[in-house]
Symmetry: C2
Subunit: 461 residues, 2 copies
């Protein structure tokens, strides 16, 4: 049993062993009841200490993946549980591919930073701090708008993007997802129609479908939505709203340019269209850039810390006019009794002590290096790149020399998992463009995959 352990990664070795063991169990479809190789054997083969391997196995016992049998050692737990762990991930496997131990493959199209990028120290410190000093944070409900101290910090960080609002216009949410859900369920009704970008964010499409809101597609260009198409759509269909992922657009990685932003706001103002700006990748950008919410204070702005600090804490926010905020807050309380006060306190601590600011600085630097390297890799492999992103997590690209089936086959051969070809289309149309997560693209499996697509014969010549 050979485990993939990265001694440079910030993930503790024991956790890496846990992940690698789960991965090995799944990939080899190990049956329940089967005995694991002895701890000392696993340790020897992988040049690991026996105590690390033992700790990892014991954690898997707590998680219900292994059982410890006296005189036998560690055996795989009942099938029921093992199967569930897998089925349970159906969601993230499809639309928003998730990095993690549930799959062995490199998830080259995943929507967040890989676990090896995550940094434990500051987050763990803030968590211990709150758990020791903040009784209300440990036990109480939060307030309907969210913790005042957190909203104050959010307001301050928005000033850097030229979004100047007072705290009363900031509402915390359980991630951007709850923010979008509150907006849709409060401000739209079934039968309404809205404009969405294509390609765009798969979860938004699902959310709108769930609420019976119909979608009009505006093509995303490297500079923002195609404003000519937008104008036609607005005049012809009179939609109620426009959802836009202005910066580091998911999946293309491109950002809105000022001229498009201004034209877009002109059009939406003239046609009385609600603009919802999803800016969850904001902190992966070093410059300021023009946000729609900075140009027009009727724009509803959605942010999150899931993409940078932690997806587990579920902390996000919405900025809107006072009346909208109060309606959203009421629905938030009725439907969830507010966010986790503990998680809000932890986030406040990291924003106030400057640790979050330094974290995203490091992430940006590392992403810049990886993006350059990935663009080079893609060029060498003869891939076409959509608009050459200068910041953020994504590159949208397609092979010029291999067709879609060849690319998929090569990916599988190299242990690389690509995003679903239809995920980013509001109507489920297939594309040969791929969302490439630059933080995953320097993995040896990705390099080998890109090289292999280059050596395939072009189909059309």
């Amino acid at each position: 049993m050979e485990l993939r352990i990265d001694r440079q990664a910030l993930v503790p070795v024991v956790q890496q062993i846990v992940d690698a063991l789960v991965c090995w169990l799944h990939c080899n479809e190990v049956a329940p009841g089967v005995r694991l190789p002895a701890v000392r054997q696993i340790a020897r083969i992988n040049l690991l200490s026996q105590s690390c391997v033992l700790q990892a196995c014991e954690r898997l016992v707590v998680q219900g993946v292994l059982e410890s049998r006296k005189g036998v050692g560690f055996v795989v737990a009942t099938r029921e549980l093992a199967v569930q762990v897998r089925q349970d991930d159906w969601w993230l496997q499809d639309a928003e591919l998730k990095p993690g131990p549930a799959s062995c493959e490199l998830q080259l199209g995943c929507g967040g930073l890989p676990e090896s990028w995550r940094e434990t120290d500051d987050l763990s410190y803030a968590i211990r701090q709150v758990s020791r000093t903040d009784m209300a944070g440990l036990f109480n409900y939060s307030t309907s708008l969210g913790l005042p101290a957190l909203r104050q910090q959010i307001r301050k960080s928005l000033e850097k993007l030229d979004i100047n609002v007072d705290d009363s216009r900031v509402l915390t949410t359980a991630g951007a997802s709850q923010g979008l859900d509150l907006i849709v369920r409060t401000l739209l009704k079934p039968g309404d129609c809205v404009v969405v970008e294509s390609p765009g964010y798969p979860m938004l499409f699902d959310l709108l479908r769930l609420h019976g809101v119909s979608m009009l597609e505006v093509p995303r260009t490297p500079h923002g939505p195609d404003v000519c198409v937008l104008e036609t759509l607005l005049l012809k269909h009179r939609p109620r709203g426009l959802f836009i992922n202005s910066f580091h657009h998911n999946p293309t990685g491109c950002s809105l340019v000022p001229m498009v932003a201004q034209r877009l706001l002109q059009l939406t103002k003239q046609n009385d269209v609600l603009v919802i700006e999803d800016d969850v990748y904001a902190d992966l950008h070093s410059g300021t850039g023009t946000r729609l919410a900075a140009l027009d204070d009727s724009v509803i702005y959605v942010g999150s810390y899931s993409k940078t600090l932690s997806s587990s804490l579920r902390v996000g926010f919405v900025v809107a006019g006072a009346e909208v905020i109060s309606r959203l807050a009421e629905v938030k309380m009725i439907s969830s009794m507010g966010a986790s006060r503990f998680c809000e306190s932890v986030m406040t601590c990291l924003l106030a002590n400057g640790a979050y600011r330094k974290l995203v600085q490091r992430q940006r630097q590392r992403l810049n290096t990886d993006r350059q390297a990935t663009l080079q890799l893609l060029e060498d492999a003869g891939w076409e790149v959509f608009g050459k992103p200068v910041a953020g997590l994504f590159i949208w690209a397609r092979s010029r020399t291999s067709d879609c089936a060849q690319v998929q086959a090569e990916a599988r051969r190299h242990g690389v998992l690509l995003s679903s070809a239809t995920a980013f289309s509001p109507v489920g149309e297939a594309t040969d463009w791929q969302r490439i997560n630059v933080a995953c693209a320097r993995d040896p499996r990705a390099r080998a995959f890109f090289r292999a697509t280059a050596s395939n014969r072009p189909q059309a010549f």
Copy 2:
């Protein structure tokens, strides 16, 4: 400035000072810019150490309530923030009264345990444990059904209530509130009608109104819903569902008896009515008692840890048939990307290491003593008690000798805040019955209030 500090309470003294200072600022409507008395003076008057008072003031600076001015000391921060802290609590002040520092009054009708009952040690240990050892818990999304290890623990604890299901029928939610919201938005549609208990849970009424679902009232007797009225409602209106808070009913504190449970299930089965059993107070009961979900596996069961361990973590769950669970899980993911994995891991840890079991044992014992004492207090004051609850948090009672206005006036005079007279009615009808939280009723202010209502002259004789 006299602060109310309880040296026996489990709440750390510094936190008590923080709460008492906020309380003092609000009650005295201290203007922004006003200087606080010197730290050494506050310490001397209240027999506290200066370092504790200083720490408390520094925390209030972080929270934006105070400002520290060089050469002046601590002054009250700008009005903007101070006002927000108050307005922000509008929600909980009304329907589900919340214990806490935002108000000075004793919230005799509040829906949870007071902060002085909360125990930090085990929770803080579990939080530190997860933050040190569980990388996925720190950073990743949870799975759509919730962490397998948590669902396993929930399944095991349900076995003690004779609810025997496999893990795949357990879905974690962000508190019972998200559970109820998912059920309503997934299984009901606007225009549907359902039966609710009267008096009943205010947030449920708001939730149903939010979704455009109309409510039929079934009176709650001390033994459960009035089944004769229920039968008439089912035959006449053909409602889609029935929501019931079977054990330690909110607000009456009474529990369903087996005979009523069986008749209720007969009726709902015959009429093809969905039964949703809200059992969030389950763990405050020492016996087992008959749950509807134990008698009939088509019943949808909702649970939570907010009432016992922590309202801040937002961990609850729903038990239902496999098909319903998979629909709820899909909506949960689309609308929130799942619960906080960190909070789920903390809860798993406390369930697995037995700390949660011991915590609720202590809470039950303490509640039993307090309930007996409160019932005696009420008897002495000539109050009528609804069905004499034997477990749980609530007593539903009204004064026989004072009318409603007199009771309200006495409450205010003694620094006691009662629940809104209309909160527990689905149609907002006023009642002279009061929800008494037994964990708050032994406070000297409550005793004095009850005694005062006894000495008022009866109106009718």
